[in-house]
């Protein structure tokens, strides 16, 4: 079995004059939690839906679990799980019956009751889906995404609208799946979600990859320049440097006592991220 689950080269998707995806190359090894991070309309969902075999691509090549997602069939779909971004209607049946029904589609399904338990809906097993809260409804989506015991799970903005505690519980659920060896592709516009869950983060804006790295070293964070700032002769001075310690030592020699209003600042992940996507505002409508 190949160690690469997703292999994409030069992927493009064009709507009219708009390149929703403007040439993406990436490769995801088995067992990785891979996150697409970007603003609305960046091309995340379009890219992921091409990989899910839902949308057609305009150009480039894509291999998912060794197959072209545009033409792969039922046996391939049995190996993936999808949690869609948009609200997706479920049959009007109690939660456990809905999960049980979808379990019947897969040759290697989990026990439906265990999955209901696993996503934290055991108390709601007999409730109708339209009586669930937004967060519970999303858990049902996740239950249906994982019921077939997928090798590869797509999660498209799974925690939008969650309160902080629900989000934290959800993250633990995803980590549990990752520990079982499930490869996970997560799209999110929450930085902390990508930072918490992902092995690698792919920042995407205006249909292009802006950065692709581990959360810790994203955008050269580890070695990024620091900004040393202080006040001198009534004005604010700033120096960007890779050696802030040396700068501070020099300043220390120049001033008799305290360096006035000294600050040393390294960019946070958020600042790096915002810098990456700054020049890439695109209309909301491509986010669908």
């Amino acid at each position: 079995m190949s160690g690469t689950v997703i292999e994409v080269e030069g992927l493009t998707k064009r709507y009219g004059d708009n390149d929703a995806v403007a040439g993406i190359d990436l490769s995801v090894p088995r067992g990785e939690v891979f996150s697409f991070l970007g603003p609305n309309g960046a091309g995340k969902t379009t890219t992921v839906e091409i990989l899910e075999g839902f949308r057609t691509r305009t150009g480039g090549s894509a291999r998912v679990l060794g197959r072209d997602p545009g033409t792969a069939g039922a046996d391939w779909r049995a190996r993936i799980g999808i949690v869609w971004q948009k609200e997706t209607m479920v049959p009007k049946l109690p939660v456990r019956d809905v999960v049980r029904h979808f379990a019947g589609y897969y040759p290697l399904a989990h026990d439906p009751d265990e999955v209901v338990e696993m996503v934290g809906l055991a108390e709601k097993a007999k409730a109708m889906p339209d009586s669930l809260s937004g967060g519970q409804r999303r858990r049902l989506d996740v239950a249906l995404g994982i019921i077939g015991r997928p090798e590869l799970l797509f999660l498209d903005e799974p925690t939008t609208g969650f309160d902080p505690r629900a989000r934290r519980e959800f993250w633990e659920l995803i980590q549990g799946l990752a520990r079982e060896g499930t490869t996970i592709v997560l799209t999110t516009h929450y930085l902390e979600e990508a930072e918490f869950l992902a092995d690698r983060v792919c920042v995407i804006a205006a249909g292009r990859i802006r950065a692709l790295d581990t959360p810790a070293s994203l955008g050269g964070r580890a070695s990024a320049q620091a900004t040393v700032a202080w006040s001198e002769e009534g004005a604010r001075r700033e120096v960007r440097t890779e050696e802030p310690t040396r700068t501070v030592a020099e300043l220390s020699a120049r001033f008799p006592g305290e360096i006035p209003e000294l600050s040393v600042h390294r960019p946070t992940l958020e600042e790096i991220y915002l810098g990456m996507i700054e020049d890439a505002h695109v209309p909301e409508e491509t986010a669908v």
Binding site: M1, G3, K13, Y15, R30, G31, E52, F54, R55, T56, A74, D75, R77, A78, R79, I80, I82, W84, K86, E87, T88, M89, V90, P91, K92, L93, D97, H101, F102, G104, Y105, Y106, P107, L108, H110, D111, E114, V115, E117, M118, M128, L144, G148, R149, P150, E151, E172, L173, G176, A178, R179, E180, G181, T182, V288
Partner: protein
């Protein structure tokens, strides 16, 4: 956190734990289709609005016509007998054309179709499920109308086998044709809300032009010519052939039951409906590219 299976306990992330389990063959299309059929029947029972309005409307109309119109006009028979065949045809079109046209548009608009396309369900299973649902609803509709007519209004139902044979084949051909037409129409609608207009308005027009409420004899020729392009007129004519005494044939447009024409028209709608459905059915909305 507990893990869901006994064979995959919490292990460190290694080369494809989940991938190493043999998956076997995909689940068969018929099995998933029948499972969907059962699921559709169960969830239809949960939709009270559609049960009450869509499903029981023809029965309500039959009750009103049988009670109010009885003896009001010279129909040559009690009102219940006179209206029963046409209302059965209308009821069958309601549970097939109207139910599918609106339900599939809603499923498309609200992502239910997108969801099943993300599973290993073969496309044919979806249609097998719909077939099971429609046959269930159509049989229920027929039994309900016959039961109400016979029990409460003492309708005289056919007693010979050949009349019932006519009723059965008109039932089957008409329901299938209307169901396919409903699936095709669902693809025309841009949204779930638009679907109810696209479905209900033409259906209402057909009810008044196909000899359901207004006798065929009373309708202008051009109206009948227009209505004869659609299945409802032929279903009603076929049902009358089954339920009415043979002498009533002279009240028809050509003074005869013309069952061969009924069969040709309904058969043609099955073929056309199937072709149009296969050519236009979309799992996505127009926005999904």
């Amino acid at each position: 956190m507990s893990t869901p299976t006994t064979e995959t306990t919490a292990v460190p992330r290694t080369e494809g734990t989940v991938a190493d389990i043999p998956r076997g063959r995909p689940v068969g299309a018929l099995r998933i289709g029948l499972s969907r059929g059962w699921m559709e029947i169960r969830s239809f029972g949960r939709e009270w609005e559609s049960v009450v309005f869509t499903f029981s409307l023809p029965t309500l109309i039959l009750i009103m016509f049988a009670a109010i119109f009885d003896g009001m006009f010279d129909m040559g028979m009690p009102a219940v007998d006179y209206y029963l065949p046409g209302i059965i045809a209308m009821g069958l079109m309601s549970v097939s054309f109207q139910t599918l046209g609106t339900a599939i548009a809603a499923e498309r608009d609200h992502g239910a179709l997108r969801r099943v396309r993300g599973t290993p369900m073969p496309p044919s299973s979806y249609f097998i499920g719909k077939t099971v649902l429609i046959m269930f609803l159509a049989s229920g509709q027929l039994i309900l109308l016959l039961g109400v007519a016979a029990l409460f209004f003492d309708a005289s139902l056919p007693t010979d086998a050949s009349s019932w044979a006519t009723i059965v084949w008109v039932f089957a051909l008409g329901t299938v044709g209307c169901a396919l037409l409903g699936i095709a129409v669902s693809s025309l609608a841009r949204s779930a809300q638009a679907a109810s207009a696209v479905v209900v308005v033409p259906f209402l027009v057909l009810q008044f032009t196909s000899g359901i409420f207004v006798p065929v004899m009373a309708l202008p020729d051009w109206v009948l010519t227009g209505a004869s392009l659609f299945p409802l007129l032929w279903m009603a004519q076929g049902m009358r052939a089954g339920f009415f005494p043979d002498a009533m044939a002279e009240m028809e447009r050509n003074g005869a039951w013309d069952l061969h024409m009924v069969a040709i028209a309904l058969g043609a709608w099955c073929v056309v409906g199937l072709v149009v459905t296969l050519a236009t059915f979309r799992w996505k909305t127009r926005k999904d590219g």
